[in-house]
């Protein structure tokens, strides 16, 4: 009787371990958006801001050209908008007739590299199945995702500046922890880190995009703070709202 009880207790513990430890997952992102230093801050006069017009958007996946993703384009534009560096953002194909002469044209390339480690996953899956899932807590599966964003901005006088940022991450998971949401989380975090780094670079060049391209006057006119968006963990709002203003100190 005692032997029987011991055997079933042991089986129960093994089952419990398999179903709990086999459900874990975690994501590593390099560079981590949450570990980046405090964002750079610049102050720009409201009158000095010029519109930004999307002139081109290319997407690549593992080196192959893809259809442009509206979601990615919105996300990039929202990130640019949150810097408050430009007065207006005009997406691809938008109306630019009333913007005036001083306009910055943007060309964006977003290159994704995905490595789902399919071969390793298939073999590991076979081994996990052959072990009646007992090895699921100890066999780890991986999914790699990297994003490289290039932003080329052409000022109204023809001068061009180019910014580039890259971020990579890996989702580590056990079999029972796999879910499509996990892949979405990985891509979201990597993209966030990549765009945060890109905006940091952009904000460093604030003066380059000022309408007068001259130092700010001391007069108390309306101005806004220009900075890269602080790292976020929550999903980015897809709505595009007018840029707010605040009196200069």
């Amino acid at each position: 009787m005692t032997h029987h009880l011991f055997r079933w207790t042991l089986l129960g513990l093994v089952g419990l371990a398999s179903t709990t430890m086999g459900c874990t997952r975690w994501i590593d992102v390099i560079p981590s958006s949450t570990l980046q230093q405090e964002s750079i801050t610049r102050v720009i006069s409201n009158d000095e801001r010029v519109p930004l017009v999307m002139d081109g958007f290319r997407m690549m996946q593992n080196g192959a050209a893809q259809n442009p993703s509206t979601e990615i384009e919105r996300r990039i534009l929202n990130t640019v908008q949150e810097t408050r560096l430009f007065s207006t953002l005009v997406p691809l194909g938008g109306n630019i007739s009333s913007l005036g002469d001083k306009v910055v044209a943007a060309r964006i390339t977003f290159d994704e590299t995905i490595d789902p480690h399919s071969g390793a996953a298939a073999w590991k899956g076979f081994v996990i199945g052959a072990s009646m899932f007992l090895l699921s807590p100890v066999i780890e599966l991986d999914y790699d995702y990297a994003a490289q964003a290039s932003l080329e901005l052409e000022r109204w006088d023809g001068q061009v500046k180019r910014y580039e940022a890259r971020s990579a991450g890996t989702a580590h998971y056990h079999l029972f922890g796999a879910t499509p949401i996990m892949i979405g989380e990985l891509k979201g975090q990597v993209t966030e880190a990549c765009l945060t780094e890109l905006m940091d670079q952009l904000v460093r060049d604030t003066n380059f995009y000022m309408a007068s391209n001259t130092p700010l006057p001391d007069s108390p006119i309306l101005s806004v703070t220009v900075k890269a968006r602080p790292p976020l963990r929550s999903p980015v709002s897809l709505s595009a709202v007018p840029v707010s203003t605040a009196p200069a100190p």
Binding site: N67, P91, L92, S118, A121, A122, M132, F133, A178, A240
Partner: protein, 186 residues
């Protein structure tokens, strides 16, 4: 900012099965005997029911007709033998499946499953002497996606039951198992 005017994408009718997509399904079929040697005399047959769970572990790999993805999981195999005597069999079988995805909604697949199987046919037929056995199944099928999340499946499996030499006699039982069923993906 006005609505974005980047190129409009038509709705993609292809089911998007990615890493982490789970599949639950129910399959039913009928076991038809194969007597592979002269020593095999039993014409075992009866309906089989196989509820299953699968997890997709790869994105589609490869190019061309063989482009596909791997999923692993398990199923419970229940067989109600009606011939030569009324008996039951139940087993648990880990399963691996390769699904060809080149044809969008029509997706052929090849599969293999195997695991422990208990049946009370033992002692009632000359091929099997123990109640504890193993069931091995290999076959192919095709899934037709009615929606992005639901599919009908039909196919064929070769079914083998034996005790792995743990007791004798152990001739084993072999059968064809044509089946049909449905799957739900989430």
């Amino acid at each position: 900012m006005a609505g974005l005017s980047s190129p409009v994408h038509a709705a993609d009718p292809t089911p998007q099965i990615t890493v982490g997509t789970q599949e639950v399904g129910l399959t039913a079929g009928y076991l038809l005997p194969h007597r592979l040697t002269q020593d095999h005399t039993t014409k075992q047959q009866g309906p089989a029911f196989m509820p299953s769970w699968m997890m997709t572990i790869t994105d589609p790999v490869g190019d061309g007709w063989y482009r596909g993805q791997v999923s692993i999981g398990a199923e419970v195999v229940y067989i109600q033998f009606v011939e030569p005597v009324a008996a039951h069999g139940i087993g648990f079988a880990p399963r691996i499946k390769y699904t060809f995805v080149a044809l969008d909604r029509i997706r052929p697949y090849a599969e293999f499953a195997g695991g422990p199987f208990w049946t009370d046919l033992a002692g009632k037929i000359p091929e099997e002497s123990s109640r504890f056995n193993f069931v091995l199944m290999a076959g192919f099928g095709v899934s037709y996606f009615l929606t992005d999340q639901a599919a009908l499946n039909v196919g064929y499996r070769f079914n083998h039951i034996s005790n792995g030499g743990t007791r004798y006699p152990n001739l084993g039982l072999n059968a064809s198992l044509p089946f049909g069923g449905f799957s739900f993906y989430f």
